[in-house]
């Protein structure tokens, strides 16, 4: 049912004049002003992706230095202090500055296109989320580059992180940087959640959205719930360090274990947040190349949500050796073993999709399908660490290092590389080179497994993790050399991805609207899409709007070429949460400098806190408040014209 006011809105087909009108309404003005003020989700998405890849490259270089140090026993390329900063910065970079932001980038770019909308629900919040990500990334790296990088691992256990044992600025950079970054994650998550429930095209009920949307939604809900835990923990750490509070100090009645609870209460759901959207990429990409719909859509969507819900109840498996009571451990052990089941749903759905489909082998297909195997390897090693008595041996050995890399590279980097091959044509209008793509894939795949498969054995032979050097007990040296060689091969593979992107930007084959003959809405618009995405708002009747003629329509045909015109302002349609019935016209925000200005103010604020310069802190806070005021200043154009619910 449509709200009565909405019935008066113009419906029509796309025309040249209509497009010109939309372009005028939506286009970001060129030049430096446009660069700092744009709120276009596609521009923001691409910035996210590029920035995250820069951090991937930096984290990768750090890893290579680490692997040189560990290539043989008793090497001294790095001092212990340098090694500790390198491995901690590597973890921080990959987990916080690459793995999550890269998925935010793809989701930012793709969501409105997948959902048949013209932008995210809160475009300026979207810009803010990117700018803060960038600023906090620079803040954290400023520490590393001045020799004050994090030096206590990404997990940052106290008391080693406390001032008594860690007097430098290292931990202040890390603590404040993480609180800063938390703002970006939080506002981004809120934006995804509202976008999901408000901006889906008419008819796109929640059982018709792509799985990647489910993945990002689930991850966003999790982030909204758990990021406060880690922001609080880092804030308390900073208070302990600077103002002598005793949250974590046993001498003052504090608890070192409190840190671990707060950190892993966040940390474990975060692991799912950085794999679920990537699993969604596979669930959406794989079927395109198998020429059939995904097997078990509803089960896979439900499994995504179930994984996250169970994921809230497993954090203690990072703390099995901390002396907690056995009964508690047994509970978390059971939950950690059982969380394998929803993951297995996805694995069997993917296998069945390939088995029952007609797979056409492309580079994207290779990345997506090989991920299934890497996912299983990372999954079974996780299953082993879920068993408390076994984990008491496995934990903090290289077995766990192998596990985390199969999870993060296998379930994040491989799907992301596949997603680059799959969606690059949409983003740029050009296809990536398939020949180079095969080299890219096979070198990455072989290098990765050469580096990390033998590492399981290194762990089973007892090598502890986070050691800057080691003695050669029974073949550790050989295994580590193999890992170091493999990591360099893998790095060459990743480099080829970058080479392919640069090369194809200039000379790639022209893609056209739908180079993969794929079924979802983003492939119904030109490549790259116009700034307003959809000239007319589509109406959706199935999960596969572009395959309906071939699959047979279940509930009527989707209408893509005729719909609401919405050209009397910067507008898109707001729909109901579950069934996506039209509800209101959403007036979208114009480009604005406020998000950038707010980020600058907050940056000053955090630098002030770091240096304990209260003047600078005050100036930062005042500028931030001023930017917020400008942001929130009432604008008549943003008033909802159509109110009321049918």
């Amino acid at each position: 049912m449509m709200a009565p006011e909405l019935r008066r809105l113009a419906i029509g087909t796309d025309t040249v004049e209509h497009e010109a009108r939309l372009l005028e309404l939506w286009e970001t003005r060129p030049g430096i002003g446009g660069f700092f003020s744009t709120v276009d989700h596609k521009e923001i998405g691409i910035r996210y992706v590029v920035t995250a890849f820069v951090f991937l490259a930096l984290g990768g270089l750090e890893a290579l230095v680490i692997r040189l140090q560990l290539a043989g026993p008793n090497l001294s390329i790095l001092t212990p202090d340098e090694y500790n900063q390198f491995f901690s910065t590597h973890g921080m970079t990959m987990i916080f500055l690459y793995a999550a932001p890269i998925l935010s980038g793809f989701s930012n770019y793709l969501w409105p296109l997948l959902l048949g909308s013209r932008d995210m629900a809160f475009p300026r919040l979207n810009a803010l989320s990117y700018w803060i990500y960038l600023a906090s990334g620079l803040f954290l790296y400023a520490g590393f580059l001045t020799g004050n990088g994090p030096n206590d691992g990404w997990f940052n256990y106290v008391p080693y992180a406390s001032r008594d044992y860690n007097p430098g600025l290292n931990q202040d950079f890390y603590a404040l940087g993480m609180v800063f970054l938390g703002i970006s994650t939080t506002v981004g998550a809120a934006n995804f959640i509202v976008s999901f429930f408000r901006t889906r095209a008419p008819g796109m009920s929640i059982n018709r959205v792509p799985i990647m949307v489910w993945g990002t939604l689930t991850a966003s809900v999790a982030n909204l719930l758990v990021v406060p835990a880690v922001s609080l923990a880092f804030f308390m750490l900073w208070m302990d360090r600077q103002f002598g509070t005793h949250f974590f100090d046993p001498a003052g009645g504090g608890q070192p274990l409190l840190w671990q609870h707060l950190f892993w209460l966040f940390g474990h759901p975060w692991v799912y947040a950085i794999v679920l959207p990537a699993m969604g990429m596979v669930s959406d990409g794989l079927p395109v190349f198998c020429r059939r719909p995904l097997v078990g859509y509803s089960l896979v969507a439900l499994a995504t949500v179930a994984t996250m819900i169970l994921g809230f109840g497993v954090w203690v498996h990072h703390m099995f050796a901390t002396g907690l009571p056995g009964l508690g451990l047994a509970f978390f052990s059971g939950a950690s073993i059982l969380i394998t089941l929803p993951s297995a749903v996805a694995v069997f759905a993917w296998l069945a999709t390939i088995w029952l489909g007609r797979p056409v082998i492309t580079t994207a297909f290779l990345f997506f399908s090989s991920m299934i195997l890497l996912f299983v390897i990372g999954g079974v090693s996780g299953f082993m660490t879920a068993s408390v008595p076994v984990d008491w041996q496995l934990t903090d050995t290289y077995f766990v290092v192998a596990h985390i890399h199969y999870v993060l590279i296998g379930i994040n980097v491989f799907p992301v590389a596949g997603a680059v091959y799959f969606w690059f044509p949409k983003m740029t209008g050009r296809l990536l080179d398939e020949r180079l793509g095969r080299w890219n894939f096979w070198i990455m795949f072989l290098g990765f497994n050469l580096a990390f498969l033998p590492m399981h054995l290194t762990g089973l032979l007892g090598m502890p993790r986070r050691v800057y050097t080691y003695a050669d007990y029974g073949g550790w040296g050989t295994l580590n050399l193999i890992t170091s060689i493999g990591s360099f091969v893998f790095a060459v593979g990743v480099l080829l991805l970058f080479v392919n992107v640069v090369k194809s930007l200039r000379s790639g084959a022209v893609a056209g609207k739908n180079p993969w003959d794929a079924p979802t809405l983003e492939w119904a618009v030109p490549s790259p899409p116009p700034v307003y995405n959809f000239a007319v708002i589509p109406t959706v009747s199935s999960r596969h709007p572009l395959w309906e003629d071939r699959l047979g329509a279940e509930g009527g045909r989707s209408i893509l070429d005729r719909g609401l015109l919405l050209a009397s302002g910067k507008e898109t349609i707001g729909t109901t949460g579950l069934d996506a019935e039209p509800l209101m016209v959403l007036e979208m925000a114009e480009d604005s400098f406020a998000p950038f200005a707010l980020t600058l103010g907050l940056s000053l604020f955090f630098v002030g806190l770091l240096l304990r310069s209260w003047t600078l802190t005050g100036v930062g806070a005042a500028s931030a408040a001023f930017a917020l005021l400008a942001w929130l200043w009432p604008q008549r154009a943003l008033d909802e014209r159509e109110r009321g619910r049918a």
Binding site: P250, A330, V360, S387, T395, D396, G462, R465
Partner: protein, 319 residues
């Protein structure tokens, strides 16, 4: 080849109860990876179009089978080894978690940056003594270990005898070990604890009961008075300089923030497993610890050659 830190086999009761479970999970894991790998490979080979140069859009899009049975059958098959692992885990946990009811020996072990302080209880105050980095236990006896956090968090691990338990400031954690047969078992700190986390090893030495009694009565004695002029000068130096951090029972050196040196020469290694304990290494370590173990809390000493040889002469009497 020997793997002193491997845990795929065990030399003690507590570790041994977990080894079969570890192997079970490892084999299940490998089998699962192989089976999934084969299905994946077969699925791609079986189903791809015969013409491998075919254009994507020339392959018809079809619904094919629903495939839901793949998921239900797959889940069912996966659930069996999972449930078995779950039950076995609980059984093994119950068997190894609790400390022994009647331990034959109780030790207090404190993790410190970057060494292990080990305290043996005694029936009288004078029988209580400290040692460092080398833990002697009698074979076939359940040993209860109370773990204390001295500064930051460390983790106590002797893979051949037991899994890990953290040492955390502000709380006392319990662990226990029991060795089947005499031998030396390597231990290592496994919670990241700063610069020298890598060099924070220790050894558990399982002795026959008679051997253990001999060792403990020897350890309970204070250091003998030096008998040569070199050693006497050396003792004075040790009291004056080393005594700021170390203790040698029976002398003026009485600080306890570094390893107890009363029976230094009875230990196999120096600096928590970093060096073998021989005169050359000992001199190198005293003079230049920052080169051997950068960041260690022991400062370089800058002793003259005479002072060094006197010190060595005395330390060598601490058997």
């Amino acid at each position: 080849m020997t793997w002193p830190l491997s845990y795929l086999s065990a030399s003690g009761l507590r570790a041994a109860k977990v080894v079969p479970l570890t192997w079970y999970m490892l084999i299940v894991s490998i089998v699962v990876c192989l089976v999934i790998g084969i299905i994946l490979w077969a699925a791609v080979r079986r189903s791809r179009p015969e013409d491998r140069a075919v254009e994507l859009r020339d392959v018809p899009v079809e619904r094919g089978g629903a495939g839901i049975r793949w998921i239900s059958v797959g889940l069912l098959i996966s659930a069996l080894p999972l449930v078995a692992a779950l039950i076995w885990t609980m059984v093994a946990l119950a068997a190894v978690a609790g400390p022994p009811r009647n331990p034959g020996l109780i030790l207090d072990i404190t993790g410190r940056q970057w060494w292990w302080q080990v305290q043996y209880a005694g029936s009288q105050p004078l029988d209580v003594f400290d040692t460092a980095n080398e833990i002697h236990i009698p074979v076939g006896v359940a040993v209860l270990i109370r773990l204390h956090g001295g500064d930051v968090i460390h983790s106590f691990w002797v893979p051949q005898l037991s899994g890990k338990t953290d040492t955390i400031p502000g709380q006392t954690n319990l662990s226990w070990i029991e060795a089947d047969h005499p031998g030396r078992y390597l231990g290592q700190c496994t919670e990241f604890c700063g610069y020298q986390h890598a060099h924070m090893q220790f050894e558990v030495v399982a002795d026959s009961p008679a051997e253990f009694e001999r060792w403990i009565s020897m350890q309970r004695q204070a250091a003998a008075a030096p008998t040569t002029p070199e050693a006497t000068r050396g003792r004075d130096l040790v009291e004056y300089r080393c005594g700021l951090c170390h203790r040698v029972r029976g002398t003026e050196a009485g600080a306890i923030s570094a390893p107890d040196l009363t029976h230094l020469m009875s230990r196999r290694t120096l600096a928590a497993g970093t060096l073998l304990n021989n005169p050359g290494n000992l001199v190198g370590w005293i003079q230049n610890p920052q080169n051997i173990k950068p960041g260690s809390l022991m400062p370089d000493q800058f002793l003259s050659a005479q002072q060094l040889s006197d010190t060595l002469a005395y330390l060598e009497t601490l058997k």
